[in-house]
Amino acid sequence: MFVIPTSILALPIDIAFWVSLGAAAVVALASVVNAWGRHYGPLLVAPALALLFVMNLFPLMWSFGLSFFNYRANRATAGLKFIGLDNYANVLTDVDVWHRLQTTAIVVILTVGVQMIVGFLLALLFERDFPGRRILLMLVLTPMMLSYVAVGAFFRYYYEPTFGLLSQAVRLFTGETFTPLGSPVGAMLAVVFADAWMWSPFVMLLVLAGLVSVPKYLYEAAEIDRASWWRRFTTITFPYIRSLLLLALLFRTIEAFKLFDVVFLITDGGPGTSTETIGVFVYRVAFQYFRTSQSSALVYILLFVVIVLTNLYLYFVNRRNQEA
């Protein structure tokens, strides 16, 4: 089934690959055999862990190894050299990398900020029980189920200067040609607009879960006390949605941090490199410049950020579960 070119087997990285894959298989098999008939737990989770090991953890370890070499995927491995921490040093001192991280930070702050605000307002809208609520909720929830590619493609269609829907609307009101993707700031806002539109319903869903969990009698009591809207919000509503707001913020930050598809489709990082987020940058370094080892080093820095954020996220998830 698998066509394995034997010439490749002779190369150093690939020997390492086959040895570690073999070792991983032996370990996985041994643990299953060991657990057979004695414990159910290990046996049940073994297939899942094995698959994740082969398809996720093993590749990660491999690229960790690669990050210490000067490997390039489009060249022969003959000149492969161990260069220690040079890749990391290069990446951390590279002006381009810092610039891309800055761009990513701006996009993350803008898009997550807009999502939190819009999502929150939408949640206030749907907090009440009104006729036709389920149908309208369905309409609002649709964007986040679409594919990034579809959203990217069609927003590009809406931004198109001549026949784009949004451009035509703007032209109608201002009389000027609308070319959002022409300027750095415009392109950035165009990306943020599309992404925020897509994911605000996510925030809404979380906030809504908090809002509907507020016991009704608290509101009734506040009504009797003639508490102001603001006071009612800060003393009754906010404590119930606080934890969910935080979770939404963290979750969206993790997701926005790895933003790739929308940028790739709407602006492709342009104009210039003004909207090139770190995800797009890594893609370029790895698959257009083929500086494989350098991109692996870069990836480990991303990995670290995501692991920290995920840890934080799960910490707050657990805390919320314990409170409930």
């Binding site: 089934m1 394995i4 690959f17 414990h39 159910y40 737990g41 290990p42 049940l44 989770v45 297939p47 899942a48 862990l49 698959l51 398809m55 996720n56 590749p59 990660l60 690229s63 809208l125 029980d129 009104f130 036709g132 609520r133 389920r134 369905m138 929830l141 649709t142 964007p143 679409l146 990034y148 590619v149 579809a150 069609f154 590009r156 269609y157 026949f163 829907l165 539109w197 979380l206 879960a209 969990s213 009704k216 009504e223 979770l247 979750f251 941090f257 790895k258 598809d261 790739f264 489709l265 890594v282 893609y283 790895a286 494989t292 990836v299 991303l302 990995l303 995501v306 995920t310 799960l314």
Partner: protein
Amino acid sequence: MRGGRRGIRQAGWGWTGFAGLVSLIYFLPVLWIILTAFKTHNDALAIPPKVLPLPWIESSFSFAPTLENFVGVFSRAYTSASTAIDTGFDLFFFNSVLVAGVSVLLALAIGTLAAYGFSRYPLRGNDTYLFIILTTRMLPPIVVIIPIFLMFRVTGLSGSYAGIILLYTAFNLPFTVWMMKSFFDELSRDVEDAARLDGSSERRIFLKICLPQVKAGLAATAVFGLILTWNEFLFALLLTGVETRTVPVAMAQTIGGDIGVRWGLLAAIETLFLVPIFLVTFLLQHHLLRGVTFGTIKR
């Protein structure tokens, strides 16, 4: 006094009108995709935009709806204005269905077992395993893709169905495990303990007692998995060949091309995809929160 005595959360038709307006504005980009799906190529690029699918009203805003885009999705020779264009979208559509379907089923089988294991027979370091599993899902795909790309090149899996299905199974697994674990955690243990006292085997308890109770959960997990897999772009971009290309990649490649983009065709594909989405958001509304947070938040 808003809401009156019946509690603040009730609202009438006035609120429906307001919410309806906001929802419609929010839904407009999607609505436009649906409209574009029924337009000819020229109508899709018209200035001013064609809004009304009502050809009998004489105005520059109305257009005659056509089904040619939907035909184009399912047939290879896509004829538009008497020129036949080979879109290949029937193949990409088939690829997407096959790859997403098989990998979601595989992930569901492996993941449900694992979720049951994590839920009922906690290992030493159970939480660590679960954390690592979730982390693999939270990672930017670009992190994993570099070594996987090299790995697939070495093993010759690149561009094959087996390769992308294997990868997508792994991609779906963390989500499936977390999601199904959250469903298993919610079940009452009393019935299981009673069955255990009566001498039921562990396998029987799993198959006859636990599994039937999480049927809705299985369905929700499968559907969310299908949506996630169907939408996946980066893995498919780098690891599928000409013959195994999936819909998102094909869509992205049409956009990048120099020739005029067939917006109607892309819109038709997306419109077809909207049907399951609507069903999900409507029928599985109670599991939506759990679905979009990968099973980490239940309520």
